[in-house]
């Protein structure tokens, strides 16, 4: 399906990241998460600000391990329109 068919706008998807909410819930900073998960701050920033177009399973695993959450806690899908 094309982006227009699924209301994905220019990004091609409707996935939204709730990393900032989970970080706030855990009282953790992005830099701390980056340090503990072994993922660069730049990449986590891209993920947090919904600028990522794809996520490695290894990245997701590392972030979920540190935040003690499931992938569904971090990612959601925005409603159409």
């Amino acid at each position: 399906m094309t982006g227009g068919d699924t209301d994905t706008g220019t990004t091609g998807h409707r996935i939204v990241c709730r990393l900032d909410a989970v970080l706030a819930d855990r009282g953790m900073t992005l830099a701390e998460l980056a340090d503990r998960a072994g993922v660069s701050v730049v990449n986590l920033s891209v993920l947090k600000n919904d600028r990522a177009r794809a996520v490695r399973f290894s990245t997701l695993t590392a972030v979920c391990d540190v935040l003690a959450c499931r992938p569904g806690d971090l990612l959601d899908i925005a409603p159409r329109g």
Binding site: G38, N43, A52, R53, A54, V55, R56, T59, A62
Partner: protein, 211 residues
């Protein structure tokens, strides 16, 4: 912990790539200038120089006149020489210059295209969208300089000998048609590299935004 991506030492670092790009740009400018000078020469001079081969008979005559020591002799069927032909019409003068003009234009174009590729390597974008096209231009330049230029030189030599009226007897001068597969082989290799760059560009687009 996410395993670190393996890193290797670059074969061509940013600084070297930038330096080569500058050198190639200078080579390109110089070759373009030479091509322009050659073209102007063809326009303003009333004569032209062409490459022809002396025939076997001339070689044997020359061998006699050199009065070489016993046992020493000139070898080779053909001896290439540059023949100065005066009072040529404009069309023939331009044809006589065309081989060298095409060669230097091919050098200028190929060097400029390669410089564009190296510039993207310097800035860390080796799989830039236009790089496959630039490499294809290099391949075309190799074929033009390696095949078209010699053909034009030979055509000019034949035309000049006909103009002088010394081609028909075939006893003093001759023009040998040569065709080398090396430029074609090199062009195929460069096109292969261009295809690798095209696929690399597609892969780079695939991982754009990957975290």
């Amino acid at each position: 912990m996410v395993p670190a991506m393996p890193t290797t030492k670059p074969l061509l670092g940013p600084r070297a790539a930038g330096a080569y790009a500058v050198v190639l740009a200078l080579v390109s400018a110089g070759a373009a200038l030479v091509a322009a000078v050659l073209l102007v020469q063809g326009l303003i001079r009333d004569a032209a120089d062409v490459w022809v081969d002396l025939s076997d008979r001339v070689r044997l005559d020359l061998d006699d006149r050199l009065d070489l020591p016993e046992g020493a002799t000139l070898l080779g069927n053909l001896i290439p020489v540059r023949l100065h032909v005066p009072d040529l019409p404009l069309g023939l003068r331009l044809l006589a210059q065309s081989g060298d003009v095409v060669l230097f234009l091919a050098i200028a174009t190929g060097a400029l295209a390669l410089a564009q590729v190296l510039r993207t390597v310097r800035t860390g974008r080796p799989f830039a969208r236009r790089n496959p096209t630039w490499l294809a231009v290099v391949a075309v330049a190799v074929v033009a300089g390696g095949i078209l230029a010699p053909v034009l030189r030979e055509a000019a030599a034949v035309a000049a000998l006909e103009h002088l009226g010394v081609l028909s007897d075939g006893s003093r001068f001759t023009v040998v048609t040569s065709f080398s597969l090396a430029p074609v082989a090199l062009a195929v290799v460069i096109l292969g590299v261009a295809e690798a760059f095209r696929r690399g560009a597609a892969m780079a687009a695939d991982v754009d935004g990957l975290v």
